[in-house]
């Protein structure tokens, strides 16, 4: 196996009494598009700043390309960062902003000019080199920041909430743009975001952070379909959590007694000991709503309390006899809005044995 391009070796960072990053051990491979995902104050930005060299770890080491850079100042590290505020130099033209990094390396003027032009073409800003940052739109500023950070061809590009300041349409468009650019330049990208959809669509791998720790890493699919704990299950997308106790184990088939609903649930491809207290994490789109009692073994009866129309699908909230509310998402396969069920109607919810996953913590 090759050397990881980034290695956080048991890194801890404290600010006074606050532990911002708590014993993080993380390796990121060359060419990855890695997303650090978490709520505000979870330490994801601090982790990025530790890598850029703006913060020094309280303990642990930071390695880039196998080299210990813990004591290397920011201006000597082979990483570049795109700031959340973009941090464009207001007194310099777009060209000068983009050229800044190369100028620090003392490159010949002709080469700087060629590479600036190249970088501006990459982010589709050709012809705007003479403008000042305050003459640009938000989307254009974001591209300038990107070009400026990319021009030195860093080992790793760090992006701090790169899309947060853009409106929704532009954000979606820019997501694909970022993926195209990463593909084109082949640089390892590490993006920090609080937006799980953004992380899922951009990244090849996600690290979910909570209270300074990385609670799970994996591909977007792994994070979504097989969350390892309640927090990840709950943080990524919506989820129904059915608390229960394991009553039978047959190979990988586990039977969970969900006392509150008064049912037994069968879960395939799981592993657990009998009597373990855990929960079934069930995504709303995995639940089928029907009026007739289904034949599937995992089913529960309830009353429709709410139907939310989202265009592509409907969110249906169903209250079971115990008072618990389960969420189901039903695709709108037909234009006809008259669904087979209405508010306050008695319905059945059912799901297959392989559609949920057991979470323990």
């Amino acid at each position: 196996m090759t050397e990881p391009v980034v290695h956080f070796d048991r890194v801890t960072k404290r600010f006074g009494d606050v532990v911002a990053v708590d014993d993080v051990d993380l390796e990121i491979e060359e060419g990855e598009f890695f997303a650090l995902l978490g709520g505000s104050g979870c330490g994801k930005t601090t982790l990025l700043r530790l890598l850029a060299g703006f913060e020094r770890p309280t303990s642990g080491r930071v390695l880039i390309g196998g080299e210990d850079v813990t004591d290397v100042p920011a201006h000597r590290r082979p990483v570049n960062m795109m700031f959340q505020s973009y941090a464009l130099f207001p007194h310099m033209s777009v060209e000068k902003n983009v050229a800044f990094g190369l100028k620090q390396d003392g490159l010949p003027k002709a080469e700087i000019a060629t590479r600036v032009e190249e970088a501006l073409r990459l982010v589709e800003l050709t012809g705007l080199g003479g403008r000042r940052p305050d003459q640009l739109s938000g989307g254009q500023r974001q591209r300038v920041a990107l070009a400026r950070a990319l021009i030195k061809r860093p080992r790793v590009l760090l992006l701090d909430e790169p899309l947060a300041a853009l409106d929704k349409r532009l954000r979606e468009q820019t997501q694909f743009e970022l993926m195209r650019i990463q593909d084109e330049v082949g640089i390892t990208f590490i993006v920090v975001t609080h937006d799980q959809e953004e992380a899922m669509s951009l990244a090849t791998r996600i690290g979910v952070m909570r209270a300074g720790r990385i609670v799970q890493t994996g591909t977007p699919r792994e994070i979504y379909e097989t969350p390892q704990n309640r927090f990840v299950a709950d943080f990524i997308g919506s989820v129904n959590l059915l608390d229960g106790r394991v009553v039978a184990v047959d190979g990988t088939r586990v039977t969970l007694a969900v006392d509150r609903l008064g049912i037994n649930v069968i879960v395939d491809e799981a592993s657990a000991e009998v009597d373990t207290v855990c929960a079934l994490a069930l995504r709303p789109e995995k639940i089928v709503v029907s009026i007739d009692e289904p034949t599937a073994p995992n089913r529960v009866e309830g009353i429709v309390k709410e139907i939310g129309y989202l265009g592509a699908s409907c969110i249906v909230r169903v209250r079971t006899g115990s008072g618990d509310v389960l969420q189901a998402v039903q695709p709108n396969r037909q234009r006809d809005l008259s669904l087979a069920f209405e508010w306050d109607q008695r319905v059945w919810l059912s799901w297959s044995e392989a559609s949920g996953v057991l979470v323990f913590e």
């Binding site: 100042p73 201006h75 960062m81 130099f89 207001p90 800044f100 620090q104 950070a149």
Partner: protein, 290 residues
């Protein structure tokens, strides 16, 4: 709308009354002829007995300013002293302002308060205090001798050095405050971005911090330079008898020589010298940044 107009009109009216009107009075005196009377100048025109108007206005006072090299020297000296005092204040004030702006927020107000603290004592008293400190047997000489730096008391008082010291000391807060205001609102992530792109701390300062604080540098420099040019108290108290700065010349013409026309011409010429840098500053400020 009317409320806003009033708020603006009142201070302008005030300025009109107490700046513009005196200015025109001084301007008028500068063009009149001196005389031994009360007031010590003649009117600009007289209406003779046969009803003719006789213009008695004259530019003699200005001609006198140009002819006598004493005045040119005084102007030159004032501009030179003010320039170097401003430069020294900038070199001392900039690191201080930067230090305050970069300190932790709870410290900032405390440090700023220390900068403003001298204002709680009268300016005149503070300059007098320097006079006492700098005397041959004053605290400064005593301290230097006690430390073994010198054997004999130094002649500090009544030198140009004392004038510089007095001006820099008195006007330093006027340099620090606008510099602080400019530096404090600089986005720290700009420095980080520059460092991230490979700029050493010195390069970050030269390429980012310094140019972005230029409005503060200009404002602070003007606030020190302008009053320093016309400074009267400091050269009078701390400077030597031959330290003819324009403020002292002005005072002497008015009160010692009672030559009001020449004194007024000196004042008008000084004003012109000062208006030029202000206008340059205004043009810099208005330069379109967008």
């Amino acid at each position: 709308m009317r409320g806003r107009a009033t708020v603006i009109a009142v201070p302008y009216l005030w300025l009109l009354l107490f700046f513009l009107v005196p200015f025109f009075i001084v301007l008028k005196i500068s063009f009149s002829e001196g005389t031994l009377a009360q007031p010590p100048y003649l009117p600009l025109y007289e209406v003779t007995d046969n009803g003719e108007m006789e213009i008695t206005a004259t530019a003699d006072s200005y001609a006198f300013l140009i002819e006598d090299p004493f005045y040119a020297e005084a102007y030159g000296r004032s501009l030179r002293v003010a320039f170097f005092a401003t430069l020294i204040a900038l070199l001392i004030g900039y690191p201080m302002a930067l230090g305050i702006a970069r300190s932790k927020p709870p410290w900032r107000n405390f440090l700023l308060m220390l900068v403003i603290l001298p204002f709680w004592t009268s300016f005149l008293i503070r300059v007098y205090a320097w006079k006492v400190l700098l005397q041959g047997n004053g605290a400064v000489n005593a301290a230097l001798m006690a430390l073994g730096v010198i054997d004999q008391p130094l002649q500090i008082l009544y030198t140009d050095g004392a004038i510089y010291l007095g001006i820099v000391y008195s006007y330093l807060p006027f340099m620090i405050l606008p510099l602080y205001a400019a530096l404090e609102r600089l986005d720290a992530s700009l420095d980080e971005a520059a460092a991230d792109l490979g700029a050493s701390p010195l390069r970050v300062f030269l390429a980012i911090t310094l140019p972005l604080s230029m409005p503060g540098i200009l404002a602070g420099s003007l606030l020190v330079f302008i009053p320093a040019v016309g400074e009267f108290v400091i050269p009078e108290l701390l400077g030597g008898p031959d330290a003819a700065m324009i403020g002292r010349v002005l005072w002497n013409e008015f009160f010692a020589n009672r030559d009001w026309p020449v004194a007024s011409a000196v004042a008008i010429a000084m004003l012109l010298f000062l208006v030029i840098p202000i206008m340059l500053f205004q043009r810099y400020q208005e330069r379109p940044t967008r």
